[in-house]
Symmetry: C2
Subunit: 401 residues, 2 copies
Amino acid sequence: MSVNQPLSKIDFKKELETASRGMIMIHDPKLLIKLIVRMIVRKLRIKHAAMILYESDEDRYVINISRGEAGHRIPVGFTKFSKESPIIRLFVEKEFRPLIRGRNAIVLEEINRIIWRENVVSKESGGGVKDLLPRVAEQMDTLNAQALVPAFYQDKLLALLLLGQKHDETRFEQDELDFFAALASDAAMAIRNAELFNDLSREAKRNRELFIQTIIVLGSTIEAKDKYTHGHTERVTKYALATARQMVSNGSASFDNTFFENLYIAGLLHDIGKISIPEKILNKTGDLTDEEYEIMKTHPAKGADMIRPLNLPLECVDGIRHHHERFDGRGYPDGLAGGEIPVTAAIIAVGDAFDAMTSSRPYRKGMEKEVAIKEIARNAEKQFSPIPVRAFLELYRQGRI
Amino acid sequence: MSVNQPLSKIDFKKELETASRGMIMIHDPKLLIKLIVRMIVRKLRIKHAAMILYESDEDRYVINISRGEAGHRIPVGFTKFSKESPIIRLFVEKEFRPLIRGRNAIVLEEINRIIWRENVVSKESGGGVKDLLPRVAEQMDTLNAQALVPAFYQDKLLALLLLGQKHDETRFEQDELDFFAALASDAAMAIRNAELFNDLSREAKRNRELFIQTIIVLGSTIEAKDKYTHGHTERVTKYALATARQMVSNGSASFDNTFFENLYIAGLLHDIGKISIPEKILNKTGDLTDEEYEIMKTHPAKGADMIRPLNLPLECVDGIRHHHERFDGRGYPDGLAGGEIPVTAAIIAVGDAFDAMTSSRPYRKGMEKEVAIKEIARNAEKQFSPIPVRAFLELYRQGRI
């Protein structure tokens, strides 16, 4: 549309369609309003326009965006409107319904005409309208607004479009106001849609966060029993994530976000099955008897069983069940070997062993890291899968473990 | 609009606005399509119309709704369209882009005209278009469709609107097709919006479900230690929820859904602090020494501490921390009395005591329910808050406990 082309009906329709079309896919209300107001000012040849939006948190109306030529913007400091503001009251309070009924916009000129008529014709009428309208006119003057276009959603004023003068300084025609009313209404709906979207999105995130936090608490319950391994769960999880990242860095694997999430959960819960191991075995300072060792060895399978009701992805469950398998097949519970061992389990196994070796217990001091690392390296392809071992050794050499 | 009124431009615009306006607030795609197709048939005087929608799960197109006079509906058995269907290929495959470029709808009449021209003018041209168009015409015939109106979203064919004959059997005018194209496009966007909404909604629900399931697993960890109280957590939670419901029924309280959710979580976790009580105290068959009893009494506060990282609502945390308070102020951990005791805790306390009394342990048989109930009644306003006791007794008398 050229700058000097008059606003014909067909233009309105096209602009409306173009504007409406994209709106519902934009879930950022501020961006949405910005686009609408920009379109009004640029394409529809209005000197300036502003959108006042309802903020439900604060139960007030705020100018969210104002655009136009210099000197035509909304003065700073006038950007918030309580429900007591005349221009808000006009559209919100029941008393003024008869005044706005049948109109989809209010023009300053018209308000001035009513004020004049009220003063001349019915000096006695008084009351709300007579008091309010001069204040509305005053506020519109301050805001440099020629027209107010309300946008309702289910009887609630969601937004108020403020229009400045047209570039050619002619008055607004009814079909122009119809167009702006349709636009404002679409905008209100799109804003509502965006709000619902954001609410739902926040809820999904909050619930996910709650789930993860609960997993952390669940994982930490074992530390209330197994006194000598304080922080073990957290450290093993940290090692596992770092190892997986390193495997991606050195090109030996390509894990996606889901994998990292599953590995994280598996790390946090890898020892959860120990909750069912009697304390006298769990906290025994001397060597376990064969019988006690057999009981101890049930913990990975028991852990996997415990979390079965969660229907977690197999990568999680496997990481728990198989973190004591050995690359040579001599581990437990299933004696898996080599590539049969799920990768989450193979990764956790390395960090788990390293932390067990390096942690001090009251009855023995932990190994030096250097010694433990050598032990890990020596056991690649025996106890441990070589790929995570390689990544783990790289991390150690880079001083990151 | 009266049935015999012709379709004027102004009607199109109005109908489009009315239709578009509400669309984005409807998050059920099927309902959305139903409303649109109904509007087309009823108001726009088309004998029948159908909407074909893309189903991403199956990577195919399906007639989701078909409406019209008897005999004009889509024949049964023709409701699914693979990507190999001629009418789908026409809009999806690159080869046919030149044919549909610049058109927002394809009319049968026009297709027949092209077929005729192709046959006469360029018998040699052959290839895709020549092969496809007769098959498109054939399929449109079978489907009783005079016009096909595609709806794209970001170059993807999301929907195809099938239009039957007009009631007055005249041909479709360009501005009518423009209208249907705008409608189909709005519908596609609204459908996409609804899908996104449903995806997000499902994600929020799934995450909530995961959280609750994890809480259940967390709550059940204590049963792995406290051997003699199998099912205690579950029963106490059931009693607590039933008691709260009865308090609402008998008018002594008005709880909302959030309260019930919080009570549910508090019930599941009320004994979680026992995880940190040594097994020899937890599972002792004889009387606890004073010192052991002091340790045992730490479990409600320890439980509340354990779940602090979750930032659960106070009603949950309080239900855990205070379920061993007594109405007379002689309970623990804080010696709260009467109305000071949070209501979730007061409710859990009753069911918890009842279950402890009625459950059998290897070293003692559980009380008869009748005896335990009398004990509960006798201790109202001593150990227990009277309002939940009243509800609990009502439940018992109704045979619901």
